[in-house]
């Protein structure tokens, strides 16, 4: 018995040692854009988009696993691999996609920051510049790992959505029916929301971020299965939280026809749990998510760009030693914060539409990943299985089809 116990203990320790990147990446799903998207989806369309979540979770799990596997097998980040396999031009195109998506994402984080502090009555002309400087200072101090941990711990606050959803006593039979036999719609708004949910859950930048974290962590091939488990668990967790946010909003906001136009509206979904403190709780969660994601996003972008182009990176260097790195980092923050300072910038819309952009750009990233992971010169015998290829190709194809459909409905 003791040897057996020891065996189990060692396995648990092995998993704990490998665990992290997948779960962190999945919890980054719960950033300002994610919360807003799920809230808007629940408020506008009730439970009628819930059916998509199981599919999204499977797609997310497959895509995350692919990134994890590529990171472990090649020891290279995604941007690195694109450069090494496809050369400079496609690299620049991919980096442009990444930078574009992440400026939008960073803007959405600053919008979240502004929206949450407006609940406390702090105007955005104060909150955004101060927040921007804070984020700049955080990285100069070189506290990246700590930021990541705080972010991870504090994002657990969204478990309150599960409690709130249960306390709201939603009509479970209806929810079940909507999951199995959904009320589909071909309206532009419905399709856009669907694209946006996929885009925020399987965000393109997460794939770059996840693979780089795996490489930095240094996971050995032998521990691949534990890292996979990490990726799967993270995906399921992300799906569950999305589910409860949509249900909570579907139960509290949708019946009253509340359209989410400010963070205050979205906070109502927490009333069954937090009562009059719902606004406070929501603001706290959103603020945390926004500030830390606003730090991680520009940083991971700067890392990816510099590594692919061979520029010096590192927060422990002086700006003069790594000019490219610090310029990109600063540019991302400035470009992300500036639009929020416009007096009438619609915060909720910015958070939502940034995620739509993610959804539109996602197929490109998945196709690049597929091309890489199916190349035996890169992956040896760890290329994709048929099932994984089907799911990944299917996701990319569906997203392209949805985008085209959206284009058609908006023209007609």
């Amino acid at each position: 018995m003791p040897t057996r116990w020891r065996h189990i203990r060692r396995r648990a320790l092995l998993f704990l040692a490998v665990m992290g990147p997948g779960i962190i990446t999945a919890s980054v799903d719960q950033d300002a854009g994610g919360i807003t998207t799920y809230s808007v989806a629940g408020a506008e369309y009730g439970y009628s988009l819930l059916w998509s979540l199981p599919f999204i979770v499977v797609a997310l799990a497959v895509v995350q696993e692919m990134g994890t596997r590529m990171g472990i097998v090649t020891g290279r980040g995604l941007a690195d691999l694109i450069r090494e396999r496809f050369g400079l031009r496609l690299t620049l195109l991919s980096l442009a996609v990444l930078v574009l998506a992440n400026i939008a994402n960073t803007a959405s984080e600053f919008a979240g920051l502004a929206a949450s502090l407006e609940i406390f009555g702090i105007p955005r002309f104060w909150s955004v510049p101060v927040g921007g400087l804070l984020v700049l200072a955080l990285v100069v101090q070189g506290t990246y790992k700590i930021i990541e941990r705080i972010f991870l711990a504090a994002s657990a606050v969204y478990v309150v959505y599960a409690v709130s959803a249960l306390l709201a006593q939603p009509p479970w039979p209806v929810i079940l029916r909507q999951m199995v036999r959904p009320t589909l719609s071909l309206q532009g708004g419905y399709i856009t929301t669907l694209i946006t949910i996929v885009g925020t859950t399987i965000a393109p930048w997460m794939q770059f971020y996840l693979q780089s974290s795996i490489v930095d962590k240094g996971v050995r091939l032998r521990n691949l299965r534990w890292a996979r488990l990490d990726a799967y668990m993270g995906s399921v967790a992300a799906g569950l939280i999305a589910f409860f946010i949509i249900v909570a909003c579907g139960a509290t906001l949708h019946p009253h026809g509340v359209r989410i136009e400010s963070a205050k509206d979205a906070a109502l979904a927490l009333q069954p749990f937090a009562g009059q403190f719902a606004g406070l709780l929501f603001a706290f969660g959103l603020l945390n998510a926004s500030v830390f994601a606003a730090a991680i996003l520009p940083l991971s972008t700067a890392y990816a760009v510099c590594e692919a182009l061979g520029w010096q990176t590192g927060v422990d260097r002086k700006p003069r030693e790594a000019p490219g790195f610090f310029s990109i980092y600063t540019l991302m923050i400035v470009a992300g914060a500036a639009p929020i300072l416009l007096p009438r910038a619609p915060l909720v819309a910015i958070m939502f539409w940034s995620q739509t952009l993610n959804g539109l750009l996602l197929p490109f990233v998945i196709l690049v990943m597929l091309k890489l992971i199916n190349d035996p010169d890169i992956m040896g015998r760890y290329t994709n299985s048929v099932a994984f290829n089907l799911v990944a190709w299917g996701t990319a194809a569906l997203m392209i089809a949805l985008s085209v459909l959206l284009l058609l409905t908006s023209i007609v």
């Binding site: 320790l13 090649t74 020891g75 290279r76 090494e84 050369g87 400079l88 031009r89 240094g218 061979g310």
Partner: protein, 423 residues
């Protein structure tokens, strides 16, 4: 001898001796030997999009104008394809756009272009190019680089790393095909290898260390920063890591293991040879910043009745592995410390003299739990190179050398100085 750039050769059209199109150049293969490896073969995408390999000899001329096609000596029908040899390296596939190590400046460089030069009708690799100019040339052309330079109002310097100091960073999959990888790296001082390792990611570090011989690998790891040490040992196959840990001084190995997750450290200790593992385990039981945690076990110790001649013989036979033999100790059968003598005293003494007559019985020693600062003070106060560490019964456990302590004391001193500078 003007420079020829790989990105300007790649995708150039080829024409045969009769001026008929013969496809496009896809890649060049070189024999990676010598200071300037010669181009031996070219990979061509033929007119019907088929891929073939031709020997370099078929090339008649590479016109300097990048718009002009490369001319071949023979008509298309007369060309006979050859095969690539396993020791040949494809520049486009293995070097361009990849990371390489500049072993002279100890930096990692992303290869934006490769510079070649013509020498007696053959092309040779001169070096790899990083930097903005190479990047722009790779992207489009030299003209673009010139335009950007004019726009910025300053020169865009060429950042060429001579091939003789370039070490390609190969992955598991490309490496298996050739021997003699990391030859240039292996020749560097372990401290330089450690500097380079800090620029790499964990799997690249492991790849390099796996190729180095165990002694060099052990020294390189010893010289690296603690975080690098821990990550490298975790990334390697346990057998290889255990072999390298065995090569290290036990105190260094213990330092590294104490930074690892418990399960990993246990696994490595089980994989190591029992004798070496035991020494390390003993050290692991002591606190990190105490004499016990820093000491080296297994010091050179002799019984008191030994003669000088016998002692010298024993040193020759047994003390090859000892960390230091400047001081040697005399112990009784219970391993209790009786005295100390120096190498100088031993050599100058009469060869029939017994050690108990030679030794100094009043030994300055420390206990295993003595703190680092006190150890350092004793070493400086008595001007010693090493101190014996004893247990509760006065038994000799190990020795502490001045370099074990210096590594830890120096940062403290520097910090103090730095603070003073600003006050």
């Amino acid at each position: 001898m003007p420079a020829v750039f790989f990105t300007q050769l790649r995708h150039r059209a080829l024409v045969d001796a009769e001026g008929k199109p013969a496809g496009r150049l896809e890649d060049l293969a070189v024999l990676p030997l010598g200071l300037k490896p010669p181009v031996t073969k070219l990979l061509v995408r033929g007119p019907e999009r088929e891929e073939w390999v031709l020997p370099w000899d078929v090339v008649a001329e590479v016109p300097p104008d990048v718009e002009q096609p490369i001319r071949l000596r023979a008509p298309l029908a007369g060309l006979s394809p050859v095969a690539l040899r396993p020791d040949e390296m494809r520049l486009g596939k293995i070097v361009l756009d990849k990371k390489v190590v500049d072993t002279a400046r100890k930096k990692v460089v992303r290869v934006n272009d490769i510079e070649l030069a013509e020498q007696g009708g053959r092309l040779q690799v001169v070096g790899v190019e990083g930097g903005a100019r190479g990047l722009l040339r790779n992207l489009k052309s030299e003209h673009l680089a010139e335009r950007v330079a004019r726009l910025l109002g300053r020169e865009l310097p060429r950042e060429v790393v001579p091939w003789e100091v370039v070490e390609p960073l190969e992955t598991e999959l490309t490496r298996a095909k050739r021997q003699a990888v990391y030859g240039k790296l292996a020749k560097l001082h372990p401290a330089d290898i450690a500097d380079i390792m800090e620029e790499l990611n964990p799997s690249e570090r492991a790849a390099i260390l796996t190729v180095l011989d165990e002694e060099t690998a052990a020294e390189a790891i010893t010289e690296a920063e603690p975080e690098v040490q821990a990550s490298v040992v975790q990334m390697m196959e346990p057998e290889k890591a255990a072999d390298i840990l065995e090569e290290m001084e036990p105190d260094e190995a213990a330092d590294i293991l104490s930074d690892l997750p418990e399960a990993k450290a246990e696994e490595l200790l089980e994989t190591m040879e029992p004798a070496e593992a035991q020494e390390v385990e003993e050290l692991l039981e002591h606190e990190e910043d105490t004499a016990g945690g820093l000491m080296t076990t297994g010091p050179v110790a002799f019984p008191p009745a030994l003669t000088v001649a016998e002692a010298i013989q024993r040193i020759r036979d047994e003390a090859k592995e000892a960390e230091t033999i400047y001081y040697m100790y005399v112990t009784d059968p219970q391993e209790r410390l009786l005295g100390v003598f120096s190498l100088r005293e031993l050599i100058l003494a009469d060869s029939s003299q017994r050690l108990e007559q030679l030794m100094h019985p009043e030994v300055v020693s420390v206990r295993a739990e003595t703190g680092l600062r006190e150890v350092a003070e004793l070493l400086t106060k008595y001007n010693l190179l090493a101190l014996p560490v004893v247990g509760g019964e006065g038994e000799l456990l190990g020795i502490l050398t001045v370099d074990d302590v210096l590594n830890l004391i120096l940062p403290m001193i520097w910090k103090k100085r730095a603070v003073k500078k600003f006050i």
